[in-house]
Amino acid sequence: MAVYIVKRFFMMIATILIIATLTFFLMHSIPGSPFDEERTTNPTIQANLEKYYKLDQPVAVQYVYYLKSIVTFDFGPSIKKPNETVNSLLARGFPISFELGMITILVAVISGVTLGTFAALRHNGFIDYMAMTFAVVGISVPNFVLATLLIQQVAVTWQLLPPATWSSPLHMILPTLALATGPTAIIARLTRASMLEVLTQDYMKMARAKGLTPFRIVVRHALRNALMPVVTIMGTMLAGILTGTFVIEKIFAIPGMGKYFVESINNRDYPVIMGSTVFYSAFLVFMLFLVDIVYGFLDPRIKLHRKDGDV
């Protein structure tokens, strides 16, 4: 297991490096510079600025500086917000985005799994049809459409909930709903399908023949096996939710990382782009790693494989 973790760690580093490199060269291959919009800037000042941000140096040298900034985790000052460093932007924006993302994941997993499980247990019953109707709608409506609909109906027409910002639990409801509906629907469908399969397994019949309580039969015997495919898609789902936060933050005016990220791309704010990309990919890669650990924990057969690899 230890060897496996070390191996995975180096693979994570390599992945991050590749993402970082790709971002760097993609960014630099697009024509234009951070100072394009400021037409009034006089050439000397611009040259000085470029010098200050090391933009005058050859790309290869910039790349080396960039790598150094990744290793030291100091991405330097923002170009467009001179009073801010990339690190301070991340420190301010990320916790909010993280909160939105995590609440969404939590809501999606809990409600998706519950919905899927009940649908499977009442296969072809009323709950099943309701849940699956919801799932189809939930998967097909994009989150930004749902967000605007929610704001229009719930916040503006009915005035039940605040329409924007992230300042209190009440404010969090609509953004979370908008972002979590899609993932909830996906998880519900997946849980239902795999639950239906698990329910026909011999060991489920055996669990029933033991006279166990229905709760134990469903939770301990069925769910644990049925959740396997759900855990598998958690990785991609996390990535989806992460990008989803950018859109949702924009719509609900939530001061998370998304706002800075989108702005930085529009403005060619290289340090911010690089910093947040590297930070986000590191975060995502780490989450995928966690997902794998959880998977191994759920399925003992996988753990054995790794142990075999150890020796």
Partner: protein
């Protein structure tokens, strides 16, 4: 692979006379007359898209304390449905118990609520399934799977349950039980898993054990070991066993009585020797003749021609008529009454009727 193994198994264990005569040191004939289970006129059917499958159409038999009753018959004749009905495991819907009783300890199990059934499942009546490779939950430790039933029913501490589990693993012949408790199913061989399944079934010391083809998925040597284990356990615990199989070699080894099922009915039932030596129903005879034996030449092997009737619309008369070499006009029209030949031997066949003698002389 399986077919081949069956033939071998039959050839190996079906040296019938020997097995029948070897009473394995215990006199089974004096099995107690105390009834453990009475099944009366069970009718069970399943709703499917194609219509209603009448899986059981009046199954009756009794089970005495400490005996092994084998239920044999072709695939689809309703053996598993019988077992599942007794166990309370028929999914309803699509299944429905239309008629009949399962009397156990003075209670009709078909009338019990789910909660009532749970007090009996795994405690008084246990079940062993065919395929040990799939009967254990792949994600739970053996120890938990062994003890969970015991702990649910007896409300004992973890430590006590653990001790009981170790004791059970020893009983079924698994070495190093303490270490084995922490392992997962994939770390055991097929034979070992079936032993574990048996240990799980026995942990609450049930009075009745239903084994649905417990050795079909195992290879021959393991089969013999597991059957031996059944015998041992029965001697030690006095548990009554219903053994479902279509392998007559297995039956010869461990059954006391045999019930022969055909198309959802028990058509003949009797002591093992009665069924093997003086079978009365043409189907039973056919079944016995279709088993390969060491003392018979290949040409003498006679499989039963034809297939069992459609259970969507079963015939009103004897369901075997279409395949029966002795079929008479009446067979098709009226189902024969039960004829009691001896205390335990009963058969449903028109050939037993006085008037049949006139037809065949």
């Amino acid at each position: 692979m399986n077919e081949h193994q069956f033939d071998n198994a039959n050839a190996l264990v079906c040296n019938r006379n020997e097995d029948l005569d070897r009473q394995k040191g215990k006199n089974r004939k004096t099995v107690s007359t105390e009834k453990v289970l009475t099944v009366e006129e069970l009718h069970v059917s399943f709703k499917t898209f194609g219509g209603e499958v009448q899986a059981l159409r009046g199954v009756s038999f009794e089970l005495y304390k400490g005996e092994t009753l084998a239920i044999v018959g072709e695939s689809g004749c309703g053996k598993s449905v019988t077992a599942n009905t007794i166990m309370g495991l028929i999914p309803q819907p699509p299944g429905r118990i239309k008629n009949g009783k399962v009397l156990f300890k003075g209670k009709d199990l078909t009338k019990l609520s789910k909660a009532g059934l749970r007090k009996i499942q795994g405690v008084d009546i246990s079940m062993i399934f065919q395929d040990p490779m799939t009967a254990l939950n792949p994600t739970l430790q053996i120890g938990e799977q062994l003890t969970e039933g015991y702990r649910t029913h007896h409300k004992v501490s973890k430590a006590n349950a653990r001790e009981k589990a170790i004791e059970m693993l020893e009983l079924v012949g698994i070495p190093n039980p303490e270490e084995r408790l922490k392992q997962y199913p994939h770390q055991f061989s097929g034979g070992m898993r079936q032993r574990i399944v048996i240990a799980i079934a026995l942990i609450c010391e049930p009075e009745l054990l239903i084994a649905d083809e417990p050795t079909t998925a195992l290879d021959v040597t393991i089969q013999a070991q597991i059957l031996e284990l059944f015998n041992e356990i029965q001697e030690k615990t006095g548990v009554s066993i219903i053994l479902i199989t279509h392998d007559l070699g297995v039956v010869a080894k461990i059954a006391d009585r045999i019930a022969v099922m055909y198309a959802g009915k028990v058509i003949e039932i009797g002591e093992k020797r009665e069924i093997f030596y003086t079978p009365q129903h043409p189907y039973t005879k056919g079944l016995l003749n279709s088993v390969p034996r060491l003392d018979l030449k290949e040409e003498e092997l006679q499989p039963i021609e034809g297939t069992p009737p459609d259970l969507f619309a079963p015939p009103v008369g004897c369901p075997f008529t279409a395949r029966c070499p002795f079929a008479m006009d009446v067979c098709d029209r009226v189902y024969p009454e039960t004829t009691h030949l001896t205390k335990n031997h009963a058969v449903n066949c028109w050939l037993q009727d006085e008037r049949a003698k006139l037809v065949f002389t």
